[in-house]
Subunit: 358 residues, 2 copies
């Protein structure tokens, strides 16, 4: 076993504290990675705090991981020691269901195994089965090759980390619903997800409209590449944009009234929810869907093949996240700022701070 | 002008009573129809009672109309005196928007003109512009050719009437989402819409599952053509059908919890709402949409071309509605029974009873 230092939450309301645990030695299909950077996702905070009532402790959060490969198993093909690798929200899946066979492991019918706050399940007889998974706020991680992406040379690695969750979560729906040139696309909400949505939709050739409550965020969205800003509280402006959008990417992370946004869509068009897992309320009305045959849908992260595609696209187009780097000792303060949306647009933990403290 | 007798509501809570009004003489594009039968749609009751707070009085309900053509204008091509004709929920639309140009008048961006409880709007300079529209609980109606379908010979006309709303409302989504053989399709709720949904999905070749709270309705659904019955309150049965449906047609006419139904859908599949216009509550959750990229959508009636297609399909496949015929003098009692779901599956008014009473 490999002894690994990290930071963990031990209870619903406790701060994250130093924590030492063990990971398996790499098997023939495994990649052992020395972690360099770990992004802080809003869902890290939700889970550390047990907001979704499904937290398993001790919990080492972190599913936006970039690091250097230190060792690979004998069967590993796509990575070798010294390569830069990324790990996102999943570390395993059943491999047998239709979703896994179509490279959509995130929709695994048995449930993908999450990078943290999860356990290997009974369908899987692999090393570490049944044990808690531990995430990226740690020195090292060992992951099967299928769930590791290769990061092309020359990228700003600390700003690559958030691509593994915020990036793929917005990339996957933009690609699945074939967003591209000639389309008017709205990105609703400007945070970790929204800022990646703007960058990707623009790079894919769409006319991008940032839809936000905040004129200030609107300005920043233009800096990120938005062509237009639509203030959602301006009812006249909203009416002027009615029936005009080809696609809406809704990144708001809490329940809210989606009916005014559905009214923006063209007939037969789609709004995809990527930020909210809980109740979408006030409720959607039947008439919002029936009038113009609008689609309300959702999308979760992305499969491993499309995650690799996204990273390669980012390398080619010079896209990374806008980040603020912190030492791991500042993680609890960062969580407080995440809850206040006081970050542009992602905190990234410099894992060197963990090693240096030892 | 043509003097026409009918039945009208005059206030939110008043019963329908005899009412005489005028219709325009047919213009060059108009068809004048002697009404034979008028179905009673659940929405007639809602609107007569002002449940949607948009009622215009006096109101002559009725948008499931079958009758005999008595006169046509000089420019009318597809119908002649003596033909049997049908009129549904719309009598006009702008003809200029993308929806109208694609034969989807029900999604007219200016708003289609409804057969009753509506007025001609300012974009339209036609005879009768600005006047209230009056529906099918009456002796005669005058409608522009585009909004009239031709009913093939040999059909049971009284049972054809409900096809003009209940029929097309279920036909249009089944066709739009390409329901056919090899698919497992669920019809949720067995009423006026649901019973047509079962007949159409079966005739289109799907494996049809009636999803209902009531074992009795389940039995009746099998008589109508359902292959299987799934009782929505049986949580084990619901779990056994999880992730197995290619398409769900949700005909429940009131707000309800759609999350258990979304769990039945295969990844990337669609549930279409056709019965509820108001709030869909308890609210849908983000995770119900995100887990498997499910689509929640809606569909309203259908365009005139697809209404003709549906009537022709019904003639070819021997499909009509299951109805109970009443004289118009019994309309208020029928409304009470509609509110109790005490009808299998549609009341149809014999308009001869209106003429005989004169």
């Amino acid at each position: 076993m490999i002894e690994v230092r990290g930071y963990a939450a031990h209870d619903d309301h406790s701060p994250l504290v130093p924590f030492t645990f063990q990971r398996r030695e790499p098997g023939p299909h495994d990649v052992q990675i020395e972690i360099l950077y770990a992004g802080i996702c809003h869902s890290d905070v939700h889970q550390a705090h047990n907001d979704w009532s499904n937290s398993l402790y001790p919990m080492v959060p972190g599913h936006e991981i970039v690091g250097r490969v230190v060792k690979v198993g004998a069967e590993v093909k796509k990575l070798k020691a010294g390569d830069i690798a990324g790990v996102g929200c999943m570390v395993d899946s059943c491999r047998q269901c239709s979703a896994c066979k179509e490279d959509l492991e995130q929709y695994c019918e048995q449930g993908a195994i999450l990078t943290y706050n999860d356990k290997a399940r009974s369908y899987k007889e692999r090393p570490g089965s049944g044990q808690l998974t531990f995430g990226g706020y740690s020195e090292q991680i060992v992951v099967e090759e299928r769930f590791v992406v290769k990061v092309p040379a020359g990228m700003d690695l600390k700003a690559v980390a958030p691509l593994l969750c915020a990036g793929i979560t917005t990339w996957s729906p933009l690609r699945h619903w074939k967003v591209g040139s000639g389309q008017k696309v709205g990105v609703i909400g400007l945070g970790g997800l929204g800022h990646m949505g703007v960058k990707f939709a623009k790079a894919l050739g769409a006319h991008v409209v940032m839809i936000t409550t905040s004129p200030e965020k609107g300005k920043d969205a233009k800096r990120l590449g938005a062509d237009e800003v639509l203030l959602s509280r301006d009812t006249d402006a909203m009416a002027a944009h009615a029936l005009s959008f080809d696609f809406l990417l809704n990144t708001i992370p809490v329940g809210h009234d989606v009916n005014p946004y559905l009214a923006l869509l063209k007939r037969d068009s789609t709004m995809v929810m990527v930020g909210v897992l809980t109740a979408i309320e006030p409720p959607v009305t039947g008439v919002s869907l029936i009038g113009g045959r609008k689609n309300l849908t959702g999308s979760g992260i992305g499969g491993m093949a499309e995650t690799q595609e996204m990273i390669d696209f980012c390398a080619e187009h010079g896209i990374v996240s806008d980040i603020e780097m912190i030492p791991i000792q500042a993680v609890n303060q960062a969580y407080e700022r995440v809850l206040k949306n006081d970050v542009k647009y992602r905190f990234v933990i410099d894992i060197a701070s963990l090693r240096d403290a030892a």
